[in-house]
Symmetry: C2
């Protein structure tokens, strides 16, 4: 497939590095201010080299990348809240040109899902977004494969918050100490609010609610509580009864979206440690299904993107 | 899609009960000695009623079901070893008629995988078999979606053996006691050898090896040890160091297939309890991926079958 990759952060870079081995061709790349386009296929090593030395991928404009002759647009620009721009317009442009769109950017499918589905209905293109929830964990494809059977979802969906909580629990240290450690290790950002306030988890839950209930949800529908104010003593008290605390996101069968610190048994599947994620599906016809693994990371997310591209390739051949 | 269902055990029955809700039509059903065929769609309630009162599904022959006008043949007859008949011939017939085949029967894809792939290459039909490994757990679809990225697989793939081991561990009782309990509960068969000798786990590993390494494996390639001779004291000794014992199946990166009781940490993801299964993928580009849930049961297996049918429907539309 011919791919246009928007965004060259860790995710975009990993896609550029691996597309060739999957038999795909990169015909356009853009960062926030520049682009490189070649309908015969770009030399991605050169593009990445220009990016690291000159902080631009080429001499073309972002619009040129959007207008390029690709089969699939990969939207890997940073997630934005509110109107989810410029991601929304990028995806809309691809669909209106009857191209496919694969998103790693959570904004458009969390904030403007129904608009995009309406545009997709009129398009010959398809929109997939496995990478927006749980990295390489096959969350959305499992829901699609078990169409109509997943009634509720619950899980640990943010590696940064989980790292902090599991370290607070094992080390007996306070939030501030462990946050500083996580920032040193690069697990937490300098401004960790998106992760620790529960916003990232909530966006993923909103996406899951949109998928399970055919749209209609935005971040405003989620009841969200973070982990910043959680005292270390809460984890100590929990451990006396063999429990621990995890930041859980939940989408119930009636579409209620809740995110917050919850007591879970230390032996529970939900008590994953470090930066791991876990997703639990309640199924209509079978027992609970658990999927766990690394929920973030450039290569993990790129794996999800490339699996979506592979699905599109198989369904359009 | 128009379905022909061969086999009306717990799996075939669950498919018959749920096909309608998924928008499919049942045009043929057969058990080992009779069949019902109607190109306009069978009344599956009547078929199931005849099966329970008269132990036959209709007045037609099994050959009539194979010759019916279906889109997808569902092979849900009991797994057989050796030449995997009659499952092999059923699947071959469907493919040679340019129909799709979806298997719950492990025999053909464990014992004669390469033959079937060759037949599939000449066919307009596709062969899928998610139901043969791990029930509703999306094992094979995850491998397909992450094409080429799964380097090794390990897991607990037999619920009966796992029930026995986890009960032996928590109750401190011997194999014979727990086996009797499992038989009372219907978790173990009267003749439990297929499960407790590791054969079932080995067949699933052979299927995984065939998928990961493009064929060439049969049960003869697996090194298999069961749990029958495991003394309760082994579990006691293991528990002193926080470990337990599980019947693990493994397919290594070089294609070695091993099944046997293995020491695992009680905190390990592999230490699932009861009849749960877990599959761990070693991935080339990301950290380990874990998938767990109920690996058997009529409805779980039917979910996997219907997800395969859904995939075929999406790729042929």
């Amino acid at each position: 497939m011919k791919l246009a990759v928007l965004g060259v952060g860790v995710v975009g870079k990993a896609v550029l590095e691996r597309a060739d081995a999957k038999g795909h061709e990169i015909v356009a790349v853009s960062d926030s201010s520049s682009a490189a386009v070649d309908s015969d296929g770009l030399d991605t090593e050169k593009v990445l080299s220009r990016k690291s030395y000159r902080d631009r991928v080429g001499n073309a404009d972002v619009e040129d990348a959007l207008a390029a002759d690709y089969d699939v647009l990969i939207e890997a620009t940073p997630t934005t809240l509110g109107d989810a721009e410029p991601g929304f317009t990028n995806v809309r442009t691809a669909l209106e040109r009857d191209r496919h769109a694969v998103l790693a950017n959570k904004g458009p499918v969390a904030q403007r899902y129904s608009e995009l589905r309406d545009i997709e209905d009129e398009s010959a293109g398809t929109m997939l977004f496995e990478a927006t929830v749980g990295g390489a964990i096959p969350v959305l494809s499992t829901i699609a494969d078990h169409a109509g059977e997943v009634s509720a979802v619950r899980g640990v969906l943010n590696g940064t918050a989980n790292f902090i909580l599991s370290r607070m629990s094992t080390e007996g240290l306070d939030y501030e100490h462990i946050l500083a450690e996580a920032q040193d290790l690069g697990v937490a950002e300098d401004d960790p609010s998106f992760d620790v306030q529960g916003t990232d988890t909530a966006m993923k839950c909103v996406i899951l609610a949109n998928v399970l209930h055919d749209g209609g949800y935005t971040l405003a529908d989620a009841k969200v509580e973070g982990i910043e104010d959680l005292p270390g003593s809460a984890l100590e008290v929990a451990s006396l009864d063999g429990n621990t605390i995890r930041l859980l996101g939940e989408v119930s069968a009636d579409g209620t979206i809740r995110v917050g610190p919850r007591l879970v048994s230390e032996n529970s599947s939900l008590a994953v440690s470090g930066t791991d994620n876990i997703v639990q599906f309640e199924m209509e016809y079978s027992e609970m299904l658990n999927l766990s693994g690394q929920g973030a990371g450039g290569h993990e997310t790129a794996s999800a993107i490339l699996s979506d591209v592979g699905r599109l390739e198989r369904t359009t051949l």
